[in-house]
């Protein structure tokens, strides 16, 4: 037992050192982030907490794209909203260019929010139905003090041209319901780009769109990222779209990042049993798929009110080690450069 503990602290040390190196130059740094929501019982105090995000660490460099992959209810959206400073962390801190978010006040907070663009999941829900496209796009600029009418107009035209809604004049007076789903998502993208952000947070930007336009929107995001040197956090449940978009992938399960790796390693060499299951469950169009059953673990993600002790995947895990997995929380083990896995199977790596 002492052996494991020693080993554990060593692994944590190396991981911490790696993190420190990255943190110095990073755009965004999330440290030991915990976001818990209180469960109240008719005003008689707290009955428990929903541990929506429970100890998340990562750093994002300038111009870097990362993807966060996980099932619904694993805390992806809570993590994203904490980054957008819409939720207060229960514990831990988020640093943007070295400044902790919790200390930003009034004007600084507005400044911070203008540096990050937000692409919502459901474009129709994200656009006010009673505003035309001109007003939708003008509003963030008015709020952020771009007072010259001419400048606002120029920026709107540029943004619309960039998302390929051309000629822009045709779209300005339209209302969201007059546009197709793909066009609506372009307006959302244009709005996110208007204030020239340094980072874009995209929450399942294509999951509500038709298969035929998904790729188009992803390509558009890719070209915007390249042209404006953006950092992007791409949140999704669909592994197959990740590959065309980002290098680093974080796999999230029950409020924690259980594997941090490169997309190529997810595809060819997944380590964590949950990542393996995700790979197995994602199909490519192939008629042979119909011939055999998929080898996926049964059951569903645990409740985040009382998450399982130890590794949170152990009740579903086919490779569970008795007496270890359900007792102790696995630390990150470095299995390769740029691959960290929170799983006891790799304790000797």
């Amino acid at each position: 037992m002492t052996d494991t503990t020693q080993e554990k602290s060593q692994t944590i040390m190396t991981h911490d050192d790696d993190l420190k190196k990255r943190r110095e130059n990073s755009l965004l740094s999330v440290q030991n982030l915990k976001v818990w929501f209180e469960l109240r019982r008719l005003g008689f105090g707290t009955t428990g907490y929903v541990h929506a995000v429970d100890g998340v660490n990562f750093d994002l460099d300038y111009r870097e794209t990362i993807a966060i992959v996980g099932e619904s209810g694993c805390g992806k959206t809570t993590l994203m909203k904490s980054i957008l400073a819409l939720y207060q962390p229960t514990e831990g801190e988020i640093y943007f260019e070295g400044n902790p978010l919790s200390e930003l006040k009034g004007y600084q907070m507005r400044q911070y929010r203008s540096e990050i663009g937000y692409v919502q999941q459901d474009p129709y829900g994200a656009l006010a139905p009673f505003m035309n496209i001109r007003r939708i796009l003008e509003e963030p600029m008015i709020i952020n003090g771009i007072n010259s009418k001419q400048e606002r107009k120029d920026r709107i035209f540029n943004a619309l041209e960039e998302v390929k809604l051309t000629p822009p004049g045709d779209f300005l007076e339209k209302f969201p319901h007059m546009l197709s789903g793909g066009q609506q998502q372009r307006v959302v993208l244009a709005r996110a780009m208007l204030l020239e952000p340094k980072m874009i947070v995209a929450d399942e930007p294509v999951s509500m769109l038709d298969a035929s336009v998904r790729v188009e929107i992803l390509r558009l995001m890719e070209s915007l990222q390249e042209r404006h040197d953006l950092a992007v956090i791409y949140i999704t449940h669909d592994l197959s779209t990740v590959r065309y978009f980002s290098e680093r992938v974080f796999v999230m399960y029950a409020g924690q990042l259980i594997e941090k790796t490169l997309i190529e390693d997810v595809v060819h060499d997944p380590k964590h049993p949950y990542t393996k299951a995700l790979m197995e469950a994602t199909s490519d169009p192939d008629a042979n798929n119909a011939l055999h059953y998929r080898d996926v673990p049964p059951g569903e993600p645990p409740s985040l009110v009382n998450p399982p002790k130890g590794c949170r995947f152990h009740p579903r895990c086919p490779y569970k080690i008795e007496g270890l997995c359900e007792v102790e929380v696995p630390p990150y083990f470095k299995t390769k450069p740029d691959q960290y896995v929170a799983c006891w199977l790799y304790k000797d790596a």
Partner: protein, 326 residues
């Protein structure tokens, strides 16, 4: 008769009246389904997939303008039945459906067991006790613990609710089940588990399936045959292995190219433009405005050609194919 056909649809049409005019949601659809096979109907949203399911099962809204064509179930013409005959002889007896977003279609104030048992009580004259026993059996079949029959829908997760609706569709042991986007709102692991259930049901109960979806990658989990739908018409049919290897119709080729692949290094493509309005579909081929291989003849309505057991509705195959209707 070469093969045992469960369903044969001929020139099925379903038009709706709206304030803007007549929407030609299903416009002359032909296809057949052999016993114990699964056909996948793929297409973009708004191409009439769900309307086709409703037309086959005769679940029509009030604003129907035209409803015509022929639907043969086991060589029986069902279009001749009156609504009452259809209700007692076909719907939920021979054919049932798992509707879109089915997990939200359970009644919140009834126990799920009672809901699942209901079709058997009504259609198969079972007593409630027998029907509940049958419901338990079906729950086991779809992988729901059988004591769940006393629970309410809100006590179950999305995946469990979807399994319950599948159990409900199987209650009267139908020959054909229509699945409308059965997994699109579910997580990937749950999705894979549900497809495992469907594969097992197909093998053990010998049910045939029509699977309606826009997700080609996951549809391949169940597909024996594929039918591609575009703007109210079926533009290509064929068996799944040949379709996934090499689709024929330009739309089907584009559609296959737009699927992001996880394992193969292939850049996905997208289809420019948008599908035509079904209020006023273009004359001739309906895909011509988005088609990369368009030529003069596309202004005429293309016939359906037979090519080695597959059908394709495109002028490009005028030389190789034989006309389907000859």
């Amino acid at each position: 008769m070469a093969a045992d056909k469960v369903l044969n649809v001929k020139d099925l049409k379903l038009f709706f009246r709206t304030t803007k005019g007549v929407v030609r949601a299903v416009d002359g659809v032909d296809f057949t389904l052999e016993r114990n096979r699964a056909v996948v109907i793929v297409g973009e949203s708004g191409c009439g997939k769900t309307s086709l399911a409703k037309a086959i099962l005769r679940l029509l809204p009030k604003n129907v303008d035209t409803y015509s064509g022929k639907v043969f179930l086991n060589d029986q013409e069902t279009m001749k039945y009156t609504d009452e005959e259809y209700r007692t002889k076909v719907r939920w007896v021979k054919m049932s459906m798992v509707p879109q977003a089915a997990m939200n279609s359970l009644n919140p104030v009834l126990k799920v067991g009672d809901q699942v048992a209901e079709p058997a009580i009504i259609h198969n004259d079972m007593s409630k006790e027998v029907a509940l026993q049958q419901a338990k059996k079906m729950f086991q079949q779809v992988g729901v613990p059988d004591d769940f029959i006393n629970r309410y829908a809100f006590e179950l997760s999305g995946g469990m609710r979807q399994r319950v609706t599948i159990a409900m569709s199987l209650m009267s042991l139908p020959e054909l089940v229509i699945l409308d986007e059965p997994t699109s709102a579910l997580d990937v692991l749950t999705q894979a588990n549900i497809f495992n259930v469907l594969k097992r049901i197909k093998k053990e109960l010998g049910v045939s399936f029509i699977l309606i979806t826009h997700d080609i990658a996951t549809s391949s989990e169940l597909a024996d045959d594929v039918a591609v739908m575009y703007a109210g018409q079926i533009v290509e049919t064929g068996d799944a292995s040949r379709f996934f290897d090499c689709p024929l119709h330009p739309y089907a080729i584009k559609l296959m190219d737009s699927v992001p692949r996880l394992r193969a290094k292939q850049e996905p493509d997208f289809i420019t433009g948008k599908p035509p309005s079904l209020l006023n579909p273009p004359t001739g081929c309906r895909f011509k405005d988005r088609c990369p291989s368009r030529f003069e003849r596309c202004d005429e309505e293309p016939p359906t050609y037979n090519i080695e057991g597959r059908t394709v509705k495109c002028w490009l195959y005028a030389k190789e194919g034989t006309n389907h209707n000859d």
